[in-house]
């Protein structure tokens, strides 16, 4: 069905892309998952406006996105608090609102977190390519014309009946994640933790690392004490599949947390961020401090179950 032109991009800000929860099942073609980096925020945003959790949204980074509303719509802003406003008044986050034709939505800059999500009833219209509406930046497909948004782009929305009934919903305040530095990320050791010296592993879980400004959607680059590998090992390993949350340590001993744009890698991975903490990765900002805490598989699965319960409870309340 033809989409309804709903937003005009007046300014794309630092970086804005169309994303859903990611592209899975295409790693054997070298195609990474892409997708929103804070999946929790996207799922809640979509539920607030009556969408499927996997509907496409706009992911915007840090500041500067301005969109003009071309037609009445129900929207929700979730994720990092980039101080979204509707005209001059603040737009309360984690709630659904009716916005009217001619109004402007502006993201003025971070109060907390790094990436915000604009969900709209119906979902941003984008072709499904290889099973997903997410933007693949390396090959330039999916999302909006396979690229970050630019000034003048018109975003269409899938038509939805009587969207106004979704306005006025709010997410459980107590379940809204806190996005604040210093971050403590829970990890599970491996798969190549045995390639690191005991001192190197100790450094990894005891040091505070600083997030480097050259971090982007491919990875969060950290600066800190050297995480030493065992002597006599080469810098790289034989390339293998990789997933978001894997923490690579290249030859210089400075960890990189892999995000969604990489399907394979040739560096050792000391540990992997647990599923329940993955959404936080989207909110870590250059200059922040990051520390790691090793947990067991049981603790990780329990934490994931708790996160899913928060979403399930909210979903049940909507019916």
């Amino acid at each position: 069905m033809a989409g309804v032109n709903t937003f005009e991009v007046l300014s794309p800000g630092i970086m804005s892309t169309v994303q859903d929860l990611g592209r899975f099942g295409c790693a054997r073609f070298g195609v990474a998952a892409s997708g929103a980096l804070d999946g929790f925020a996207v799922r809640v945003g979509n539920l607030l406006v009556g969408n499927d959790e996997n509907a496409a949204v706009v992911e915007t980074t840090l500041m500067g996105l301005r969109v003009k509303v071309l037609r009445d719509a129900v929207v929700a802003v979730t994720g990092g608090d980039l101080q979204a406003r509707k005209g001059s008044e603040p737009l309360a986050m984690w709630r659904s609102h009716l916005v009217g034709e001619g109004e402007t939505i502006v993201f003025s800059g971070p109060a907390s977190g790094f990436r915000a999500y604009l969900a709209v009833a119906g979902g941003i219209q984008a072709a499904v390519v290889m099973g997903s509406r997410s933007t693949n930046l390396s090959s330039g497909f999916g999302g909006f014309e396979g690229r970050p948004l630019r000034k003048g782009d018109i975003l269409a929305v899938e038509p939805v009946q009587d969207a106004v009934r979704f306005a006025g919903r709010g997410f459980t305040p107590a379940a809204v994640p806190a996005y604040a530095s210093p971050w403590c990320l829970r990890v599970i050791w491996g798969p190549q933790d045995d390639h690191f010296s005991e001192a190197g592993k100790q450094t990894f879980v005891s040091a505070a690392f600083t997030v480097s400004p050259d971090s982007d959607r491919t990875g969060i680059r950290l600066k800190g004490p050297v995480v030493a590998r065992r002597p006599a090992l080469e810098e790289s390993i034989i390339s293998e599949g990789i997933l978001s949350g894997a923490i690579q340590v290249p030859g210089d001993g400075q960890p990189i947390i892999i995000l969604g744009e990489t399907a394979s890698g040739g560096y050792r991975k000391i540990a992997t961020v647990i599923s329940a903490d993955l959404p936080l990765l989207g909110q870590i900002t250059p200059g922040d401090e990051v520390a790691f805490e090793a947990v067991s598989m049981d603790e990780a699965v329990q934490a994931l179950r708790e996160m899913e319960n928060r979403i399930d409870t909210f979903k049940r309340g909507l019916k």
Partner: protein, 213 residues
Amino acid sequence: MGDRSLLVELGDTISPDVNRRVQRLMLQLQQAPPPGVREIAPGYRSLLVVYDPLSTAFAELTERIAEASVQQGLAGLPQAKLLTVPVFYGGNYGPDLEEVAGRLGIPADEVIRLHTETIYRVYMIGFTPGYPYMGELPAALAVPRRSTPRTRVPKGSVGIAQRQTGIYPVESPGGWQIIGWTPIELFDPSRQLPSLLEMGDRVKFEAVRQVEI
């Protein structure tokens, strides 16, 4: 890897035998995917299986994969396709050809001859969509990656590094030594098989001409 994937290691080395074991296990799991599996990512010597830890327990999945690897001896592999890739070597097409030849102490023509005489196996697709990691490059052509990677390597560039050769399907950063360029389209997301090459395929390079320097 983490709480949502298993890295199944099928050997320690880059070898066609190990890689075929990876390929067989991948096909086995694709034909009968264990419940909860979201992604299967093959590497040279390993298979990364990503799953939903709330719908499948680690132990259960490990068992299913162990069963599959026992059965995989029976599974045949599909006929590998052989693709001939035309390459313009040297000059602007292959800015590192002369340097590679110099480093190896052989003429550029000899680099081209050695690069085109072998039929390579596609070990895996990775790095960027459709990027084939191929081997094994003749020992006489083994050179390290560039000490400073380029920020932009043009689409279609043919590179070598250590005992591997590859083709850049899109413009991207890259550290391999670029010896030539090919016009073939390696990746098209609208095709049913988006990647022209798949793990296990075979590739032969053919010199179109060497650009005079």
